[in-house]
Symmetry: C2
Subunit: 292 residues, 2 copies
């Protein structure tokens, strides 16, 4: 999907970086690549080389009504002039019961963006909804950047451009079309107040990405997805949701509240994002699996 606002955004980005100097043909190519993040030789072929694995790791938290989220059920949230009343994190209403009719069936309801979940481009843009993300874009090389040490000292620690450079000096360039995941250690805190780390004003604190790191992996490394083990790509250092707008507004997507990053290698695993294909979805709970 590539609507006029996205084309305009890409055009601005190109203009900003003076890429038009490289000539009209290349600029058109870059414009096109802004609409389709993955250049491919033929449909469904994700790589000319085979990917191999013999181990599976679950990168998903179990979603339940007490799982922490960026909102608190029943506590109003204001965005602009609008006020919203968040419901339960997830409601699992037992409609049919095995003890009564030998069948179990639940009615499930939730606001998207709870538990381990995707943020689709449409969450913070007019871009693609979850159903428009192709399966071949949901299977990606996984690269993990560990900032546990500084996150332990500072709940507002950021993955900086310097962190990325240091990572690459050690591990080589981030693979093309990767999912780049931040391991801040926050996955171990989902059952404690540390996960929200409320400050004196009652605001959430958690590690996140620095916008400069985001611009680099977008412009220079063609990273397809980011992932964080916290509930947001942004923190109080970017109160305007800079990362969300920059990343999702560029037809890219990400995963929040990912789990078990300590159990996968820094590089070499493949991530499979099992995102339900609900028409019009801006994201939502999924099953994220690593193949090693």
């Amino acid at each position: 999907m590539c609507n006029p606002s996205i084309i305009e955004k890409v055009r601005k980005r190109i203009s900003r970086r003076n890429l038009l100097k490289v000539g009209a043909t290349s600029a058109a190519g870059i414009l096109a690549s802004g609409c389709k993040s993955i250049p491919k030789s033929k449909p469904n072929e994700i790589t000319p080389e085979s990917i191999s694995f013999n181990q599976v790791v679950d990168l998903t938290h179990t979603l339940h009504p007490e799982f922490p989220a960026w909102f608190t059920p029943g506590v109003e949230r204001k965005f602009g002039t609008k006020t919203f009343l968040p419901p339960a994190i997830v409601e699992v209403e037992r409609v049919m019961k095995f003890e009564e009719i030998k069948i179990n069936l639940n009615k499930i309801s939730y606001w998207e963006h709870v538990g381990t979940h995707m943020d689709a481009p449409s969450h913070f843009s007019e871009g693609s909804t979850v159903d428009k993300i192709r399966a071949e874009d949901l299977v990606l090389p996984l690269a993990v950047i560990d900032i546990k040490a500084k996150a332990e000292r500072d709940p507002l620690a950021l993955v900086t451009l310097e962190d990325i450079k240091n990572w690459e000096a050690k591990n080589g360039p981030i693979p093309q079309r990767a999912c780049l995941a931040m391991n801040s250690g926050w996955a171990n805190h989902v059952k404690t107040p540390k996960f929200k780390s409320l400050n004196s004003e009652g605001k959430h604190q958690q590690p996140a990405f620095h916008i400069d790191a985001i611009e680099f992996i977008k412009e220079e490394r063609n990273v397809v997805s980011i992932a964080v083990d916290t509930f947001s790509f942004d923190n109080l250092h970017s109160p305007e949701n800079d990362v969300h707008y920059s990343w999702l507004g560029d037809e890219r997507w990400g995963i929040e509240i990912i789990n078990n990053l300590d159990e996968v290698p820094v590089v070499g695993a493949t991530i499979v994002v099992g995102q339900p294909k609900i028409q019009g979805g801006s994201g939502g709970p999924n099953r994220v699996i690593a193949l090693i």
Copy 2:
């Protein structure tokens, strides 16, 4: 998970087949294997040999309010003494709107068992809910049995034991720990009345599995999951939901309304079932991906 009723069920199965004759030690092993369908050498290792792929195929339909299901929204259904009023197939309520506050967020609600989805053991038993199914059990060799020719002639066609034997004569034994999928051609009918193929009494007709085939792949082939491109493992030939009770009651699970089976090989692909990990879920919409 292995509760007393499951142990009792396995015990009965063993007794029925006189397997106790093989001696107490083996019988204990079989009992144990009834509780854990996958014998494993070490955690997360799904196979001692590597699995390779370089292509991805989406086996998932897009879920939307007009997608066909085994119920009709707003039309009462009776089970035993209970009457139920099904809601919309899926409700996507726009809570936050980009045009208003530069954020999109929906409230999603559905009865489980719509769209391409899992039936967990708990759907028709006291067995495991979706959150208890391990990720390594969601990555399986895929075997596809094509009954399109007879399903074209008869909407109540069944995958029989003979079909399985013929398939094996041609393709070798069904791989251990496989997902065995029925390709009846029904995935091509989701947009037409053919998908439900109502008979003169207004009852659904669709291809399904014969109970004898089910018992064979359970007892003799350790198949972990079945899959169908229709909305039920059972049809009018098994009005008592024999297949559901036999299969799910044995701590196995399956996928209904799978898509695109024509695009995967008869054997050799790997299926990854991206099942959201909602605590207490008896199944529900997922993303099913084939790696080739």
